[in-house]
């Protein structure tokens, strides 16, 4: 077996390189560069960008679903945060974000900062009256399951002339389990301070089927989904939200359950959540109404993609088999508006104008 002389091999490759045509040095006035230099430039950019954005990276890591990957990302980014904090490198990001009024973007408030509210007696069965001069303040929010319904309510509200709808407040990838991702308990306090809704519509459940919760009484909390300990903690959160959104006499909350899901395993989890919502709402009858979406979207008792609405066949579900689509949101909003019409005296808006789907 013969061994090649490394020197000869290098000479050969040098000769081969010499025989290749020299590539152009410039294009459109730009200097072209060896790929190695481009890689070095990219690495410097990522290093500098990573250090200067360490706080943001740490927050992004912390709001991931609970997993070993999250733990690793948290540890790595915590190291970066410590270094940049000591060197003062986190300040530029804070300053720039502050310029656009978002200086607290990296803050994580993971506590369930609501205290139990003393419940008042249910409102006497007298129809509250609203008029164009005294509009019903409506608020709708929740996780991704709420997006289409909140948007449809918002679109329909002006034509009623008696309902004033706050900006739709649906947020993807959020829920009551993870206040570190979006703190709904703080958000409820803000809504009560700013919107002061007569009626609130909340829809949750899409992301609340995990074992892991942040913001437990003793820090983070992980018990099997649906277990008694898990249910105790989740019920506490639901109860706090319900009581906070109805803390003023006369305030009403419509809590919409998660619609039937196509995947049986997911649907079983949604049923666990819906049972909790229904039970907690029943304890607050008169102030909180649980709206079961299944009779609307699963009239045959099982998942279906389309329903007949106003005499037309309408596709109401997203292809993921879980969320309502735009038309599904319109249908649910229509049901909610009819509930309001029944419950309150809505002068100059009776009957409420029909809202139509896109199909």
């Amino acid at each position: 077996m013969t061994r090649r002389d490394p020197q000869t091999q290098t000479d050969r490759s040098r000769r081969a390189d010499r025989t290749r045509p020299r590539p152009p040095v410039e294009r459109d006035g730009r200097l072209l560069e060896p790929v190695g230099l481009a890689m070095a430039t990219a690495l410097v950019a990522l290093l500098v960008g990573g250090l200067l954005n360490a706080n943001g990276m740490h927050k992004n890591a912390s709001i991931q679903p609970d997993s070993p990957a999250r733990d690793i990302a948290m540890s790595l980014t915590q190291g970066l945060v410590d270094i940049t904090g000591a060197l003062g490198l986190s300040e530029p990001r804070h300053l720039i974000a502050g310029l656009v009024g978002n200086g607290s973007k990296d803050d994580v408030v993971a506590t369930v900062g609501l205290t139990p509210v003393k419940r008042h007696a249910p409102t006497p069965p007298v129809k509250q009256a609203f008029s164009p001069a005294n509009k019903l303040q409506l608020y709708a929010g929740g996780d991704s399951l709420s997006l289409e319904t909140a948007a449809a309510l918002s679109a329909a509200a002006p034509s009623t002339r008696v309902i004033q709808m706050a900006e739709p407040d649906g947020h993807l990838n959020t829920g009551l389990e993870r206040p570190d991702v979006l703190n709904w308990f703080e958000r409820a306090k803000e809504v009560q301070a700013t919107v002061k809704p007569n009626v609130s519509v909340l829809i949750f459940g899409g992301n609340d089927n995990a074992d892991y919760m942040t913001g437990g009484a003793n820090g983070d909390f992980s018990k099997p989904f649906g277990s008694p300990a898990w249910e105790r903690e989740y019920r506490r959160r639901v109860a706090l939200m319900m009581d906070t959104m109805t803390q003023t006499r006369g305030q009403t909350l419509i809590w919409v359950g998660a619609p039937v899901a196509q995947d049986p395993a997911l649907d079983a989890q949604m049923k666990v959540l819906n049972r909790i919502y229904r039970l907690e709402a029943a304890k607050r009858a008169g102030q909180v109404t649980y709206l079961d979406p299944d009779p609307i979207f699963a009239p045959a008792g099982k998942f279906q993609t389309s329903i007949t609405y106003q005499g037309k066949q309408v596709v109401v579900r997203e292809p993921d088999g879980q969320h309502l689509n735009t038309d599904g949101g319109v249908v649910l909003a229509d049901v909610i508006l009819k509930m309001l019409e029944k419950r309150f005296s809505l002068r100059e808006a009776s009957p409420l104008p029909p809202i139509t789907t896109g199909g």
Partner: protein, 469 residues
């Protein structure tokens, strides 16, 4: 896997050097590209990989059969089968519910009661893009403009990760020959690549996200906003969709450049267009030329007289509208552009016959084109025709509704439109100057750009608008 994410950064930092290391070993390089393309694509849903593989195998079979067959009639039959198969798959995933419920409701209006079967199928990401690329491979084989390559090369072409989910819609003749010729690692256009990636990232995660925060509430409830706010909302969406889509394709072109490959340009300052024909030469350019070469020209183009030209233009734009999604509003958007193009075409022909020039100054042509395009975007963005009429109606009736437009939004919209009016060599000069800076200083400048993007962006990455198409 989305480009502006940590996981993609890690993925690219592995694939990028390997791409160059294996470049001189074509067969190993092709394996790397195929694996990386499928890993990238499967990140959304591993089941989609089977669809991509099936599309690759089927279209390779069609193209090879066409090239081996001499009989013209048989070649045509194979082509028809290929087009039907590709469009059939697209129709199943994208249009089935739309067509069957539309048919059921039409029958219902005629007194025939029929509950159509509907399905819940998740739309495979990028299906419209890779289906169009696969179709151009088969059609080019039929036309004899591109000889079918090996299955492996075609599979690499179709699954090449920079373009697979949202284009640009690259032709086989543009990319496959580049795969066969090893790229030279001594001279790559790094500066242009970094500009495209950083600029695309800024457009996507800062501009598009900010514009969405202005446009979304206005489209959700136009009736609660003043006319001025609604006008700003319409223009905010006009900027959002440009920043979102062009931002993505800029990143795709930049990433391909870092790997040594050139993609065709996809956007060229579209809001500086002088008329609709000019707009479509500047907006989603690779789709425009696909529709021109594979739909408009085969329909007869402008070779069969003015009336037929108008019909062909209209059909092309209506189908182009439908390509974007299964909704009547997309169809209306395409029709609106089709009617606009036909009108413009006819007026231009008449002026040519009469030997006259256009009487409008260019600033007025640009402005009216922009207003037309922005108005048409209302159909594209709206959730229903009711929503379209609410938005446009509020522009006329909402002057008494209180509400001030956001000055920040107006400034960003004006800035984004103004940038597109700059001479085209402005960016070239900036890149030329940047390329002469020391590499470490370049890295530092790009790192600071990442800081600005990170600090100004909202948390998380919003989905790209064009992924749903």
């Amino acid at each position: 896997m989305l480009f502006p994410t940590f996981i993609f950064t890690v993925f690219f930092l592995i694939v990028w050097p390997l791409n160059w290391v294996l470049m001189r070993h074509p067969s190993r390089w092709r394996v790397l590209m195929l694996v990386s393309g499928y890993v990238f694509y499967s990140w959304w849903d591993w089941r989609f990989a089977f669809l991509l593989a099936a599309s690759t195998l089927a279209n390779q079979m069609f193209a090879v059969q066409i090239s081996r067959t001499q009989d013209a009639h048989r070649r045509k039959l194979i082509l028809i089968a290929a087009v039907a198969a590709n469009l059939g798959v697209l129709a199943w995933f994208k249009y089935f519910n739309f067509f069957v419920t539309s048919a059921a409701n039409l029958l219902g209006d005629l007194g025939v009661s029929w509950l159509a079967p509907t399905v819940t199928t998740v739309l495979p990401v990028g299906i419209s893009f890779f289906t169009f690329m696969a179709l151009s491979y088969v059609i080019d084989a039929y036309r004899g403009t591109f000889k079918p390559t090996s299955l492996m090369r075609f599979a690499v072409f179709l699954s090449f990760f920079p373009h697979i989910v949202a284009g640009p819609i690259v032709r086989p003749a543009e990319l496959v020959p580049q795969f066969d010729e090893p790229r030279d690692p001594r001279r790559i256009d790094g500066t242009r690549a970094f500009f495209l990636i950083a600029g695309g990232l800024f457009k996507k995660v800062v501009i598009s996200a900010y514009m969405a925060s202005i446009a979304d509430p206005i489209f959700a409830s136009p009736g609660t906003h003043s006319a001025l706010q609604v006008i700003v909302g319409i223009f905010a969406y006009t900027i959002q969709i440009y920043a979102d889509f062009s931002g993505y394709t800029d990143m795709a072109i930049g990433l391909a450049l870092l790997m040594g490959f050139e993609f065709p340009q996809n956007f060229n300052r579209p809001y500086s267009a002088l008329g609709l024909r000019d707009f479509w030469r500047r907006w989603h350019m690779t789709l425009s030329r696909w529709l021109r070469d594979y739909l408009y020209i085969p329909l007869g183009g402008n070779r069969k007289g003015p009336s037929r030209t108008s019909v062909n233009l209209l059909m092309t734009m209506v189908l182009g509208g439908l390509w974007h999604g299964a909704a009547w509003t997309f169809l209306a958007w395409g029709t609106l552009h089709g009617v606009g193009l036909v009108t413009e075409h006819r007026l231009a022909s008449r002026r040519e016959r009469q030997g006259r020039d256009g009487w409008m100054p260019s600033w007025l042509v640009k402005s009216s084109t922009l207003v037309f395009v922005a108005t048409a975007w209302v159909f594209f963005r709206a959730t229903s025709f009711g929503n379209v009429f609410d938005v446009i109606g509020q522009v006329f009736s909402g002057w008494g509704t209180p509400g001030r437009a956001s000055l920040g939004a107006v400034a960003v919209i004006a800035g984004m439109i103004a940038i597109q009016q700059l001479p085209s060599d402005f960016g070239k000069r900036a890149m030329a100057a940047f390329s002469r800076v020391h590499w470490a200083a370049q890295g530092l400048a790009l790192g600071v750009t990442l800081l600005v993007i990170g600090a100004l962006s909202p948390a998380g990455v919003a989905p790209f608008i064009y992924f749903q198409f």
